[in-house]
Symmetry: C2
Subunit: 187 residues, 2 copies
């Protein structure tokens, strides 16, 4: 940030009184522009044993596969946001059943929260963000073409819990090691 | 927001192409200023069966009791943030053990994430944000003087799980009904 959102004057980078971190501070009106992590919400939507998966039509990771996920908006709960993203990205209406995973991605300033849900309609179709929507059994999941580590681990948690017949809430700290040559999404 | 953070020009409120929500958009440089919910992280720190509780020295809810909690910062995990807030607000070092609760507070654009932890040092002391720090047994908790609903419910979850000898992750949607005359923090 370079300019104050309240008065438009140039911002200064410094530690405000009583704080311990550098912030963007406006010396004209006193505004402190805090930057905090954002919440990404996603859903693993199940339909008769299969999962709604979307092929990304946008960057980053264009062409890779994901379950529906996106930034949490104001005025919605995380479960509502996960259901909204599912409809926006796949055309599928979903009932959210349970919290599945809470993952930290501090290197990109994000928290990823994944829910499990039941698809209420099986009318998947491509959208602005999705070039292809598919209903996949576990054996169909293209593990080497998954978009992001939180999608990879969210799917692994889902299938592992389902196989043992008991749902739980998983936590994990993700890194960007997977971006290095030769590294895997699971790293 | 009134002015563009990148170029300082006045912002316009409208729905950008391909979006469905109104945003603050800069018609000069094209910047879209997204506003998203913030994450508050907290910790119920246990020390020999008692809980580290802090009396707030700042608004809002000055004088009311809370366990340590505050806004998640960039470059930290939620567990790291919860431990940092515990030290900043009470002077107590804590080892985070488990995720305890994930709560939505959409009316104020927040997500509250609470962890359970073990205090490693019992040297609690007042800080800039805390006028008094106390080690409280369950019977000592001042239920009518708790600062916020997420603190109330976080404590209830902690004591209920501890009593039955099994930890779990709790989810809840909180409202601002408690602010109405005669309403309770549990509402």
């Amino acid at each position: 940030m370079k300019f104050c959102s309240l008065c438009g004057h140039a911002l200064t980078r410094r530690v405000p009184p009583g704080d311990r971190l550098e912030r963007d501070v406006c010396d004209h009106c006193g505004q402190i522009e805090y930057q905090n992590p954002k919440v990404v919400v996603g859903c693993v939507p199940e339909w008769e044993g299969r999962i709604v998966m979307c092929r990304r039509a946008i960057q980053p990771r264009l062409g890779y596969w994901t379950f529906p996920a996106g930034f949490l908006e104001l005025d919605e709960t995380m479960a509502e946001g996960a259901a909204r993203e599912t409809f926006e990205e796949s055309g599928v209406r979903v009932e959210i059943d349970r919290l599945l995973a809470v993952m930290d991605v501090p290197e990109i300033g994000q928290v990823h929260v994944v829910y499990g849900g039941r698809a209420c309609s099986a009318d998947p179709h491509p959208t602005d963000e999705t070039s292809e929507v598919a209903l996949m059994a576990e054996a169909d999941i293209p593990w080497d073409e998954i978009a992001f580590p939180s999608i990879y681990h969210g799917l692994k948690y889902f299938f592992a819990d389902r196989a043992r017949g008991q749902w739980s809430v998983h936590t994990r700290r993700l890194t960007s090691r997977w971006k290095r040559a030769g590294a895997k999404l699971s790293d």
